[in-house]
C-alpha cells in the first residue's frame, strides 16, 4: 500500500468529520484556562473506544493539536496561558493585544501553529524510527542541562532588571521544591499545610500567577480591556503572511526545536516553546523588542509547541514511551484498541499508523480555517464584552480551571494566594514570568541533577557525568552562547558606534 493510498484512506468523510470535530473541541477546551491538552484528550478519549483504530487515533490527534493551539487565545487575549504550552506566547502575544494588534497576534499564532504542526507531523511520517533513538540518548544529566538552558531565559525576563528576574526565578525554583521530593522523599517547605504535600500544582500556579494580577489591574480604571483599533473585521492575513515570510528561518528553527523537544519523554510543549523563544530572541536583530509585542516571539512559541504534537508521537509509536502527557493517554487508548506499539508497528500495523499520520496532517490543515474563525470570534468577543462582565467571568474560569485539574479545592486556594502574591510582587517590580519559568523547570532540573549526581557517583566521576557526555556538551555550548551572545553583540555595537563617532570627527 503506497503513501497515496494511506492519504486516501485518511480522507474518508468520517475521518474528515472526526478531524474537524476534534480540532474544534480541542481548541475550545485548550482556550479555557486550566483545561490542558492532557485534560482535553483524557475527557474525550472514551468517545474513541468504539471507533476503528485509525479513526480513533485521528480524532485524538486532532483534539490534541487543537488544544495545544487553543491555549494561545487566552495567552494573547487575557495574558493567561490556556495550556502550559502557551506560557511563552504571553510574553509577546499579550503586549501585542494591549497595543491593538491582538487580531494579528491570533492570526500569527494560527499560521505558526499550522506550520509547526505540519513540520512535526512531517518528521513523524518520514523520520520516526531513527529519531526515536535520539530520545534514548537523553539521560538525567541531559535533562538537567536542558532545564538550565530554559532557565537562562530568566535573566532576560525581569522587567528592566536582570537581578530582579533572577530573584523571581529563585522564587519559582523554591516553589518547585515544596512538597515531597521526587528523589529522596524529603518533605520540604510544607509546614502545617498538609495540602502542600503534593507540591504546588503547575497549572493552578500558572492560572494564578498570570491571570489574577490581570484581573486585579483590570478593575482599577475604566475603559476597554483591549484596544481594537477599528480593525476587528479583518484576519490581517496579508500582514501576517509578510511577517511570516520574513521570519521563515525562525519558523523552521522553532518547529525543529519543538519536534526534537517533543521526542524527549516528559519535556513537552512548555519547554519546547521556551527554548524556541530563547533561540528566536538570541538571533533576532530585534531582540530588544522581545517581551514588548514582537510578532517573532509569538511565531517561535506557537510553531514550537504545535511541533511537539508530531514529535511526541515518535517515541510513543516507535518505542511505546510517551513523549508528552497527552501521548501517555493516547498510548493507553491504543492499547485498548489492541495496538501494540514498538519498532515493528510501522511495518506490522502500517495501514493504521500511516492513515493516522495523514489524518494528523489533515487535522493540522483543518486547524487553519477553524483557528482563524474561532480566533476572530474570540477576539471580537473579548473586545466587545464590557469589563464589568469580563472580570467576573474570567475569575469564574480561573476558579473552575484550577479546581478541575485534580478536583481539589486546595488548588483553587493555591491559585488565588499565588495570584495575589504575584500582583503584590508585580507592584514591587517583579515580573511573574521568571517565577513561572523557575516553577516549571525547577523540578526537571533538580531531578536531573540528583539522578545525574547519583549515577556519576556510582560510576566514579560526577564531573565526567555532567560535563563529559556529547549531548550535554552541545547543550552547555548553547547555554553559553545564549548568555554570551547578547553581551558580545552589545559590545560589538558599542565599538562600531565608537568607530563611527571617531570617523565623523
Amino acid at each position: 500500500m503506497g503513501s497515496l493510498e494511506y492519504l486516501l484512506a485518511a480522507l474518508t468523510p468520517l475521518n474528515l468529520l472526526l478531524a474537524l470535530a476534534g480540532v474544534v473541541a480541542g481548541t475550545v477546551i485548550g482556550a479555557l484556562p486550566g483545561l490542558t491538552a492532557t485534560m482535553a484528550v483524557a475527557v474525550l478519549v472514551p468517545f474513541t473506544f468504539a471507533m476503528e483504530p485509525a479513526a480513533a487515533l485521528i480524532a485524538l490527534g486532532a483534539i490534541y493539536t487543537g488544544a495545544i493551539y487553543g491555549g494561545a487565545y487566552a495567552a494573547i487575549l487575557l495574558n493567561t496561558p490556556g495550556t502550559p504550552s502557551s506560557i511563552a506566547t504571553t510574553f509577546d502575544g499579550y503586549p501585542m493585544a494591549r497595543g491593538g494588534r491582538g487580531d494579528l497576534a491570533l492570526t500569527l499564532a494560527c499560521l505558526s501553529s499550522v506550520i509547526g504542526g505540519l513540520v512535526g507531523a512531517g518528521f513523524l511520517l518520514l523520520l520516526a524510527p531513527p529519531m526515536a533513538t535520539v530520545a534514548l540518548k537523553f539521560g538525567p544529566v541531559e535533562y538537567f542541562w536542558l532545564a538550565v538552558f530554559g532557565l537562562t531565559l530568566i535573566a532576560s525576563l525581569g522587567e528592566g532588571s536582570t537581578v530582579k528576574g533572577l530573584i523571581g526565578g529563585c522564587v519559582g525554583l523554591l516553589l518547585s521544591m515544596v512538597g515531597v521530593a521526587e528523589v529522596g522523599g524529603d518533605v520540604r517547605y510544607v509546614g502545617e499545610f498538609k495540602a502542600l504535600l503534593g507540591g504546588v500544582d503547575v497549572v493552578s500556579a500558572l492560572i494564578g500567577l498570570y491571570c489574577v494580577p490581570v484581573l486585579i489591574e483590570l478593575v482599577a480604571s475604566p475603559g476597554q480591556h483591549l484596544d481594537a483599533t477599528g480593525r476587528v473585521a479583518s484576519f490581517r492575513l496579508r500582514e501576517a503572511s509578510t511577517l511570516m515570510g520574513r521570519a521563515k528561518f525562525n519558523l523552521a528553527r522553532s518547529s525543529v526545536i519543538g519536534t526534537i523537544v517533543g521526542i524527549l519523554p516528559g519535556a513537552g510543549g512548555s519547554i519546547a516553546s521556551l527554548v524556541a523563544y530563547s533561540e528566536a530572541k538570541r538571533v533576532s536583530p530585534r531582540r530588544a523588542q522581545f517581551g514588548h509585542g514582537e510578532p517573532e516571539g509569538v511565531m517561535a512559541t506557537e510553531s514550537a509547541n504545535n511541533a511537539t504534537v508530531g514529535g511526541g508521537f515518535i517515541p510513543t509509536l516507535v518505542l511505546g514511551i510517551p513523549g508528552t502527557p497527552p501521548d501517555a493517554i493516547i498510548l493507553g487508548a491504543l492499547l485498548v484498541q489492541g495496538i501494540r506499539t514498538g519498532p515493528t508497528l510501522f511495518t506490522e500495523q502500517a495501514p493504521v499508523v500511516y492513515t493516522f499520520i495523514w489524518g494528523l496532517i489533515l487535522a493540522t490543515v483543518i486547524m487553519l480555517p477553524v483557528g482563524l474563525l474561532i480566533g476572530r470570534f474570540a477576539f471580537k468577543s473579548i473586545v466587545a464584552i464590557p469589563k464589568a462582565v469580563l472580570v467576573p467571568a474570567v475569575a469564574l474560569l480561573t476558579v473552575l480551571g484550577s479546581f478541575a485539574v485534580h478536583n481539589n479545592p486546595h488548588e483553587v486556594q493555591q491559585m488565588v494566594v499565588l495570584g495575589v502574591a504575584a500582583w503584590v510582587l508585580g507592584r514591587l517590580g517583579f515580573s511573574a514570568s521568571p517565577i513561572v519559568l523557575g516553577l516549571i523547570l525547577g523540578s526537571i532540573a533538580e531531578r536531573g541533577f540528583v539522578q545525574g549526581h547519583l549515577i556519576g557517583g556510582a560510576r566514579g566521576s560526577v564531573v565526567a557525568e555532567f560535563l563529559g557526555r556529547p549531548i550535554s556538551i552541545a547543550i552547555i555550548a548553547f547555554i553559553l552562547l545564549g548568555l554570551l551572545w547578547p553581551w558580545w553583540v552589545k559590545r560589538r555595537q558599542a565599538r562600531q558606534g565608537q568607530q563611527g563617532a571617531t570617523t565623523n570627527e
Binding site: 528592566g160 532588571s161 529522596g184 469580563l390 478536583n407
Partner: protein
C-alpha cells in the same frame, strides 16, 4: 541620609529585602533535609539571598530605576484580591454555586465604572446567570467535574 530620588526603585528594594528574608528562611529550613534533598534548596536559597543583597547594594548606590507607578483605584484592586481570596476559601464550605454567585456579583460591582441603571442591572444580571449556569453545566455535566 539622602531621600531616595524619584527614579530610585524603593518598591523594588522593599521587595528584595522581603525576598532576602524568604531566602534566609529557605536556607534555615534546608538544614532539616537529607544531604541530597538539601542540595537544591541550599543552592537556590543562597542565590536568592545573594541576588537580593546585590539589588539592595545597587539601590544604595543609586543604580536602580523605578517603573512608572500604575494609575487607577487601589481600593478596587484590593477589593478584587479580597473577594478572590474569600471565594477560594469559602468554596469548600459554601459550595460552588453559592460562593461563585456571591463573588460574581461583588466582582461585577467592583469592575463596573459606569452608572448603574435598571437596564445594566438586568443585562448584567442575566449575563451573570447565563455565564455561571452555562459554565456550571459544562463542567459539572459535560466534563463530569465533581464541583463542590
Amino acid at each position: 541620609m539622602n531621600e531616595p530620588s524619584p527614579g530610585r526603585d524603593t518598591p523594588g528594594a522593599i521587595g528584595s529585602a522581603l525576598l532576602v528574608g524568604v531566602g534566609v528562611a529557605a536556607l534555615v529550613y534546608s538544614s532539616e533535609f537529607s544531604d541530597l534533598g538539601a542540595v537544591f534548596p541550599l543552592a537556590i536559597g543562597g542565590l536568592m539571598v545573594a541576588m537580593g543583597v546585590l539589588y539592595l547594594v545597587f539601590y544604595a548606590m543609586g543604580r536602580t530605576q523605578r517603573a512608572a507607578p500604575a494609575a487607577g483605584s487601589n481600593l478596587r484592586r484590593a477589593g478584587v484580591a479580597v473577594v478572590m481570596l474569600a471565594w477560594a476559601f469559602a468554596l469548600p464550605s459554601l459550595g460552588f454555586l453559592a460562593s461563585s454567585a456571591i463573588a460574581f456579583v461583588l466582582l461585577l460591582m467592583l469592575a463596573n465604572h459606569e452608572r448603574w441603571t435598571l437596564r445594566t442591572v438586568l443585562l448584567y444580571g442575566a449575563t451573570g446567570v447565563l455565564v455561571l449556569g452555562g459554565l456550571y453545566a459544562l463542567f459539572k455535566h459535560a466534563l463530569q467535574v465533581p464541583l463542590p
